[in-house]
């Protein structure tokens, strides 16, 4: 069994602005992963809610939380409740849609972020599993549909050279520094994408090291 909670601070923590760890802090986390996947703040975001998120997002502050995450705020940032206003001032268009029916990724706390900025597009399907922890179970990037197991961290390398030697080098590096449960390879005409489900949270400084070594890497 892969453990969904990997640190005592997943349980005692996060320090956050209320009112709900799954619907507020977890929603901030989903927004933040959207920001990381997109590589910054997108100009336009449509958020699709399913299940409990669709039913209770207004009462739980889920809207401002997702907006805060997209802006890159942390859960304990006092600006979290004002995030939609701050986003509007920065010219970012964020919309929220309550979807009916079951979550496409099979969890009652689901938000799917459709992000775009001109030509650039990405989609992230996240669910908030409790206590502020989240999973990312579906991603669309460069037109490729990626299906990670869900649990963070997730490492994604976009390889435009399509040669697989990057994959070998990254796999060897990760085996040494951040062992993974599973590796998936996706191929299209434009690029290859390598996705890794990492077992434990990254050791300090590891993401910096990864970014230096692989310019097109995404660490969720």
């Amino acid at each position: 069994m892969e453990n969904r909670y990997k640190s005592v601070f997943d349980i005692i923590g996060p320090v956050m602005v209320g009112p709900s760890s799954s619907h507020t802090a977890g929603a901030v986390a989903i927004g933040r992963e959207g920001n990381r996947l997109f590589g910054g703040v997108p100009k336009k975001v449509t958020v699709h809610y399913y299940g409990s998120f669709a039913q209770t997002h207004r009462g739980h502050g889920t809207d401002y939380a997702i907006a805060a995450g997209i802006l890159g705020f942390t859960t304990d940032d006092l600006r979290v409740p004002r995030a939609p206003e701050i986003a509007r001032q920065r010219g970012i268009d964020i919309r929220f849609v309550e979807e009916e029916g079951p979550s496409p990724i099979g969890h009652p706390n689901t938000a799917i972020l459709d992000m775009s900025d001109g030509e650039k597009k990405a989609q992230l399907s996240g669910c908030s599993i409790g206590g502020g922890a989240i999973e990312v179970r579906d991603i669309v990037l460069h037109g490729i549909n990626i299906k990670p197991a869900g649990s963070l961290p997730i490492v994604i390398l976009v390889d435009f050279e399509r040669k697989l030697n990057h994959e070998r080098s990254l796999s060897d590096f990760l085996k040494l520094k951040a062992p993974f449960e599973e590796k998936r390879i996706y191929k299209s005409h434009a690029c290859y994408i390598y996705e890794y489900d990492i077992q434990n949270y990254f050791k300090p400084d590891l993401t910096g090291e990864l970014r230096k070594k692989y310019p097109h890497i995404i660490c969720l």
Partner: protein, 293 residues
């Protein structure tokens, strides 16, 4: 990493180390962070909790923007000062701390989720009561949180801690079980007694539904944390007295998971069933969000 409560108890008995120490060692090993950093992170969480408790019972208290909750921690404080509590000043002080924290949470103040925001009052309820009652040092209070968190990880990985997947038993029920076990350690009990306290506390809240009015983390969440804190202290006392749970801790956790999955969605944080579904609950929802909501 510990996957079961029985492994933690066995390790504690073998090494003579308290649960808190085993969890600190596990965290250092898994995160790669030095002990001092791990310790200070928990200290920051403790300080956040202390600030929230203080804020909730200072002055006139805090109030949520809907007006549904607030000010009751102060009311309880004044009641205790009169000196005629029925369940005793100890229980009612824990209740005051728990309510204060959740009122701050409902008012969108800063809290520490333990394990969730909806259940963020239960542990501080117990912890800041024990600080007075047992004269706990800061070190002991930080250890309390490591013990609670380490056992909470086992609960979270084997069952649920979200109301949407497991009902309130997964939130306040888990928090109460964690608090009971950590209280035992703070009082000088054994790891085995901690496991017994966890089992007793969890068993007593099995089946608790998550039915927030208008989907807000206010009613009944705030008062359920009062019960979570009281239940934790009673379970800890029973375990320290030598009472045992017939069902072992790990099986109680499995039972909690199954009960949660058997609950209909209307009772899992959808704001549809239970208290949320009552005429008054529905009327409050309509008043806050409009008739079409």
């Amino acid at each position: 990493m510990y996957n079961h409560i029985k492994e933690i108890v066995a390790d504690s008995e073998k090494t003579g180390k308290p649960i808190s120490e085993l969890i600190i060692e596990q965290e250092c090993q898994m995160s790669g962070l030095p002990r001092e950093k791990v310790w200070n992170k928990m200290k920051y969480n403790l300080e956040t909790m202390r600030d929230a408790v203080k804020k909730g019972h200072s002055g006139n208290g805090v109030f949520s923007s809907t007006g549904l909750t607030g000010g009751e921690a102060v009311r309880i404080k004044k009641y205790i000062e009169k000196g005629h509590t029925l369940s005793g000043d100890t229980i009612m002080t824990a209740v005051q701390n728990a309510v204060a924290t959740n009122e701050v949470n409902a008012a969108m103040g800063v809290i520490c989720a333990t394990p969730t925001a909806g259940s963020s009052g239960t542990l501080p309820g117990v912890l800041f009561l024990l600080e007075k009652r047992l004269n706990l040092t800061e070190e002991q209070m930080i250890r309390f949180l490591f013990t609670a968190g380490g056992l909470g990880m086992v609960i979270a990985n084997n069952a649920e801690i979200a109301g949407a997947t497991g009902g309130c038993q997964a939130e306040v029920g888990s928090a109460s079980a964690m608090g009971a076990a950590a209280a035992v350690e703070a009082a000088g009990g054994t790891a085995e007694q901690s496991a017994q306290a966890l089992s007793i506390a969890m068993s007593n809240l099995l089946g608790l539904v998550c039915d927030p009015i208008a989907g807000l983390v206010e009613v009944p969440c705030v008062k359920r944390n009062a019960i979570g804190a009281g239940n934790a202290l009673i379970a800890a006392d029973m375990a320290l007295a030598g009472c045992t749970s017939v069902i072992p801790a790990d099986e109680c956790i499995d039972a909690m998971k199954k009960v949660g999955h058997q609950m209909p969605a209307s009772l899992r944080e959808t704001g549809i069933g239970g208290l949320a579904g009552t005429p008054t609950g529905q009327a409050i929802k309509a008043k806050i969000f409009g008739e079409d909501a």
